[in-house]
Amino acid sequence: VVELLDRKLIFVTGKGGVGKTTVAASLALLAAGQGRRTLVCEVDAKGNLADFYETGPTKFEEREIAPNLWAMSMDTEASLRQYLSIQLKLGLMVRVGPLAKMFDFVASAAPGVKEIVTVGKLCWEVRERHYDTVVVDASASGHIVGQLAAPQAINQLVQVGLVRQQTGWMLDILGDPAVTGVVIVATPAEMPVTETLELTARVAAETNVELAAVVVNRVLPELFGRGEEEVFDRLEHPAAVATLDAQLGSPAEPLLDAARLTVTSRRNRTEHLERLRHAIDPAVPMLYVPYLFFRSHGLRATRQVADALSAELGY
C-alpha cells in the first residue's frame, strides 16, 4: 500500500457533516509541515475552507497561506476558460465575450463538463508538477463518484475531438495508485458508516481511483478501564449517590449522568466502528481522530486533527 502522503493527488470525501473539510485541511497542513509543496483545493463552493486556516477567502487563483501551503477554491467557469486557453490553445476570442458565454452555457447544461474541468484542473496541477501534494476537499459522497468517473463518462459521450484526447492522461493520473487516492471520512454513527460502505463499493466499481484510507472522526474516549466500569455502575446506586452528594456538598447526579451519556454513546458508536472495520479491506489504513471537546473549527482544531493524523500515520 502506498503511504497516504506520498500520493500526489488526494480526494477527501464523506457524508455531509462528518468533518470532511477538517480532515482535508489537516492533511494539507501535515503535508506542508513535512516540507512538501502542497495545494489544498475546495471543490464545493461553500467557501469555508478559509475558516479552517483562519485566513482570508480563497479564490480560483491559488494563494500561499502558510509556508509550503497554497489554497484555492474551484470555480468551474474559470477552470473552463483556463482549460480552453492552456489545454486546447484557443485564443482570447473563446474566453471572453459572447462565445465564452456560449461555452459557459453548454458547460452548465451538458453533463460531465463541470466535472471534467474540475478533475482536469486538479490532474493538470499534478501533471505539471506544480506541487508535490494536491489535497482536495472534494464533493460529499453523493457527488464524488460523478466527478471521479467524469473522464470515463466523457470518453463514452464524446467520440472524437480535442476533449476526448484530453481524457487519456487524466485517466492515467487518476488510475495510478502511486499518484492518486481517495480518503473517505466517516464518524462512528449509523448513516456515515453505511454511506462509507456504499461509497467504497461505488468507487471500486465505477472509477479507477484507489481507496487510500478511511478516516474515522470524532471517536469518543474510553472513560473506564478494566473493572472500573463495574465500580462506576455501583456508584449509581442510591446509597453511593447519597454518600457522594454529602461529600461534594451538591448533587452528584449531573456528573454521573454525563459520564453515563459518554459510556453509552461510546458503546453504541463502537458497534458502528466494528461494522466499518469488518467491511473495509484490511490493507486500507483506518485512521482514528478523537472527538475534540472544543468544537471550534479554527486553525487550532485543524492543528489538533493534523497531530492526531500524524500520529496515526506513524510520523
Binding site: 473563446v94 462565445l99 452555457f105 460523478g146 475531438g161 455501583r234 468544537r295
Partner: protein, 398 residues
C-alpha cells in the same frame, strides 16, 4: 426559548406557537439544513406525530434509501410509490394513530422519466428523449437535477390531493438554497436565448452568423457527434418547453404558498449553525415561510450548572482522595480505583461542559430565529423503531 406554549393549536390565521400548531395549519412542510444534522429522522418523527395526533393522511418523502428508517417503520422498503406504514407498527410502539402515515422515497431517474412522459407531445418524442445519451446522463448523474425533481415531485404529490400533510426531507445540496431556486432556474434555462441560438443550426440547417464561430470551435473540441447529441437533446427538450416552464412556475408558486412552510434543522456545531443562519436569511429575503427551527442533538442543560461544575472540579482536584476513601466501602472497591473512576467522571463533565458552553454561544448566534424553536437532546443510542421516532417527535411537539 420561544417554544413555550400551552400546547394547543393557535387560532386560524395566527402565528404558530409550536410544531404541533404549525403542522396543524400547513399542508407542506419542508425540512432543510446541512448534511448530517438529522433531517430525515426529524421529518419522519414530525410526520409520525401528525399521523398519531392530528389524523388524516400524512406522507413523508425522503431522499435517502434509508433502509433502517424503512425497517423502523415496519416496511421492507419503499420507493417512488408511497407505502403505508402498517397500523401494527404503531401498536407495537404503543400508539393509536388517528390517521395514516405514508412514506415515499425520491427516485430521481424515475421521476425524470415520468416528467418526460407527461410533457412530451407524443410517445415517439418521449422515447427519443429517454434514449438520448445526454438525457440519461442528466437524469441519472447531473447533480442539479435532484434539486429540481425533488420540488417537482412535491408539486405532483400535492396536486394529487391524496394527502392532508406532506413532510419533505430535502436532498443534500451543495448549497442549501439550490433546491428552492431550482424551479426558477429550470424555467430560465428553457427560456434562455443561448439555448435557442445553440440549436438553430440543427433546426434550420443554416448556421447563423452569431453561432458559426462557436460551432467551428466546438466541433474541434467536442466532435460533431457530441454536438449533434447535444442539439438533438435540446431540440427534443424544447418540445416540452411550454409545459415545463409552466410547471416550474407552478412549483415555485407552491413553495411560496401560505400552506407551505420550511423547518430548518441544525445541530449547535459551528458549521451547521452557520448554514442554518444563512438559510434563515435566504428564506426571509425570498419571502418563504419559515415555520420553525429544530435544534438537534443538543447537550443537556445540567452541563452548564455552575454548582455541578464546581463539584466536577473537586473530583479531579486534591480533595478527590478523601472523597474516594469515604465512598470506597459502599461501592466495594479499593480507594485508588474509586479515585480513578471519580477522576474520569469529573474530567468527562469538564470536557462536555466546554462543549455545552460552545453550544450556548452558537444558540445565541441564531439571533433572528423564527417563533417556534424546538430542542432535541443528545441521545446516546440510535433511533431504530417507530417508538423511538415518536419519542423524538414528542420532544419537539409542543
Amino acid at each position: 426559548m420561544a417554544d413555550r406554549s400551552d400546547g394547543r393549536a393557535s387560532p386560524p390565521g395566527g402565528p404558530a406557537t409550536s410544531i404541533e400548531s404549525l403542522l396543524a395549519s400547513k399542508e407542506i412542510v419542508i425540512a432543510c439544513g446541512s448534511g448530517g444534522v438529522g433531517k430525515t429522522t426529524t421529518a419522519a418523527a414530525a410526520a409520525a406525530m401528525a399521523a398519531v395526533h392530528h389524523g388524516g393522511r400524512v406522507l413523508v418523502v425522503t431522499v435517502d434509501p434509508a433502509k433502517r428508517l424503512a425497517n423502523a417503520l415496519g416496511l421492507s422498503g419503499f420507493g417512488n410509490e408511497a407505502k403505508r406504514v402498517p397500523v401494527a407498527a404503531f401498536s407495537e410502539a404503543g400508539a393509536k394513530p388517528r390517521g395514516e402515515l405514508w412514506v415515499a422515497m425520491l427516485d430521481t431517474k424515475q421521476s425524470w422519466d415520468d416528467l418526460v412522459r407527461r410533457h412530451a407531445p407524443d410517445t415517439d418524442t418521449a422515447s427519443r428523449i429517454l434514449e438520448n445519451p445526454l438525457y440519461q446522463n442528466i437524469a441519472g448523474k447531473f447533480v442539479q437535477s435532484h434539486d429540481y425533481i425533488a420540488m417537482e415531485r412535491l408539486y405532483e404529490l400535492h396536486s394529487e390531493g391524496r394527502y392532508d400533510l406532506i413532510v419533505v426531507d430535502t436532498p443534500p445540496t451543495r448549497n442549501a438554497v439550490d433546491f428552492i431556486e431550482a424551479p426558477q432556474r429550470m424555467a430560465e434555462f428553457f427560456q434562455s436565448k443561448l439555448l435557442r441560438l445553440l440549436i438553430v443550426p440543427y433546426r434550420s440547417k443554416l448556421v447563423n452568423f452569431a453561432s458559426r464561430p462557436f460551432y467551428q470551435i466546438a466541433d474541434r473540441i467536442l466532435g460533431s457527434q457530441f454536438l449533434a447529441d447535444i442539439a438533438e437533446f435540446f431540440i427534443l427538450f424544447q418540445t416540452m418547453y411550454g409545459g415545463f416552464v409552466e410547471r416550474a412556475r407552478a412549483v415555485e408558486r407552491l413553495l411560496h404558498d401560505q400552506r407551505t412552510t420550511f423547518v430548518v434543522v441544525s445541530t449547535l456545531e459551528a458549521a451547521p449553525v452557520r448554514e442554518a443562519e444563512f438559510f434563515i436569511d435566504v428564506l426571509a429575503s425570498k419571502h418563504f415561510h419559515l415555520g420553525a427551527l429544530v435544534l438537534n442533538r443538543v447537550l443537556p442543560d445540567y452541563l452548564l450548572d455552575p454548582v455541578a461544575g464546581r463539584a466536577a472540579e473537586r473530583l479531579v482536584g486534591a480533595a478527590a482522595a478523601d472523597i474516594a476513601a469515604s465512598i470506597a466501602d459502599s461501592v466495594d472497591a479499593d480507594a485508588d480505583q474509586v479515585r480513578r473512576v471519580l477522576y474520569e467522571v469529573g474530567d468527562n463533565f469538564r470536557n462536555f461542559r466546554i462543549v455545552a458552553g460552545r453550544e450556548a454561544e452558537q444558540r445565541k448566534a441564531l439571533a433572528s430565529v423564527p417563533d417556534v424553536v424546538a430542542t432535541v437532546p443528545e441521545m446516546a443510542t440510535d433511533i431504530h423503531d417507530l417508538a423511538g421516532l415518536l419519542l423524538l417527535g414528542a420532544r419537539i411537539w409542543n
